[in-house]
């Protein structure tokens, strides 16, 4: 396992539409393990998508329990070829992103989502998420289409804020 360097905007991989994973094999599981380790190496990070660490593939890992404890979330999740199948409601959250270390953005997203995909063993799973986990899901799904939270803010003046506490460069 290894902690991978996080690509920073405007790296072209972050803007690419990622390709589907054809086979959930050992290589894919190794990348997912590295992504998980990279996420845990950053103190408050609750999700990483493959393109953020240089792989333009449709997969992400997340663990919202790092921030909100065990309730109302699935803990560590890894999803391959995820697809949003249902969303409802609205919620504005202030999001930060390892790939855009200097800014935070207020982004409006759905409050509840259902996402379908494969787990690292290749089994199809369907996950119903609410609250912060739902927000994180949508942020990571966006990464797979080359969309970053800065593309979702409606006003630079009120919705995009400079970090008052810049992320330390914990990642290599």
């Amino acid at each position: 396992m290894a902690v991978l360097p996080a690509l920073k905007y405007p790296h072209p991989t972050l803007r690419a539409k990622c390709t589907a994973v054809l086979e959930t094999n050992e290589e894919i599981r190794r990348i997912i393990n590295d992504m998980t380790e990279t996420m845990y190496a950053s103190p408050s990070c609750v999700g990483i998508a493959a393109p953020q660490v240089g792989y333009p593939l449709r997969m992400f890992v997340m663990d919202v329990s790092r921030k909100i404890g065990q309730k109302k979330n699935h803990g560590l999740l890894a999803l391959i070829n995820p697809v949003l199948v249902y969303s409802e409601g609205e919620k504005i959250t202030r999001e930060g992103c390892l790939s855009i270390p200097d800014f935070l953005g207020n982004v409006k997203r759905a409050r509840r989502v259902i996402v379908k995909g494969l787990n690292p063993e290749g089994w199809e799973v369907e996950i119903l998420s609410t609250g912060l986990e739902a927000i994180a899901m949508q942020h990571e799904l966006d990464h797979l289409d080359g969309v970053l939270f800065i593309h979702r803010v409606s006003s630079l003046g009120t919705d995009l804020v400079r970090r008052k506490n810049p992320l330390d460069n914990i990642l290599p």
Partner: protein, 182 residues
């Protein structure tokens, strides 16, 4: 070594202020590092951090801005700043909070809240106020973003807020800004 300046320009809003100011800077070969511009009622205000080649002084801008400031009735100021002030990675050290204040419009709301924050060395990083029509009298709203040093006891701060709430008949609430790191 580049030199850094902060430029402010304020004037009655109209088309051409940004174009005018940025043309002067472009012609001088100046780089705009960062900027914030907004309109308040009828006044337009710009703050710009710029960098120049070495050997440029604040007074050098004066002659270049004169024609523009006369034409558009702009009030323009230029001040030199140190590179380390501009480029410092960690200007703040505490936790970000949002304070909202709501009450009947009366003199002293901004002052008394700001005074309390200042006495605790809590830095205001953003502040907006708005007077909105109320049922009988106008309601004053103020949203403040602050950087709260780690040693400040939030429970104690809330107690002091509640004293101020009673005294001024206003509502004050403080909450930590929740940030989802992805």
């Amino acid at each position: 070594m580049r030199k850094f300046f902060v430029i402010t320009a304020i004037g009655k809003d109209r088309p051409g202020i940004v174009a005018g100011v940025s043309k002067v800077l472009f012609d001088l070969g100046v780089n705009i590092e960062d900027s914030s511009m907004t309109i308040l009622r009828s006044e337009f205000a710009m703050i710009l951090i710029i960098s120049t080649e070495e050997g440029v002084d604040a007074s050098d801008f004066e002659s270049h801005f004169r024609e523009l400031s006369d034409k558009l009735s702009l009030f323009i100021s230029v001040k030199g700043i140190e590179e380390r002030e501009v480029c410092s990675k960690k200007p703040y050290s505490g936790m970000p909070y949002i304070i909202s204040v709501i009450g009947t419009d009366k003199p002293g709301i901004v002052y008394r809240v700001a005074q309390l924050l200042s006495s605790k060395k809590i830095n205001i990083t953003d502040l907006n106020t708005k007077v909105v029509p109320g049922e009988r009298t106008p309601v004053y709203t103020m949203i403040i973003e602050v950087d709260v040093p780690e040693y400040v006891d939030i429970a104690l701060l809330e107690e002091e807020f509640s004293l101020l709430e009673k005294e001024m008949a206003i509502d004050i609430s403080i909450r930590e800004i929740e940030v989802l790191e992805l």
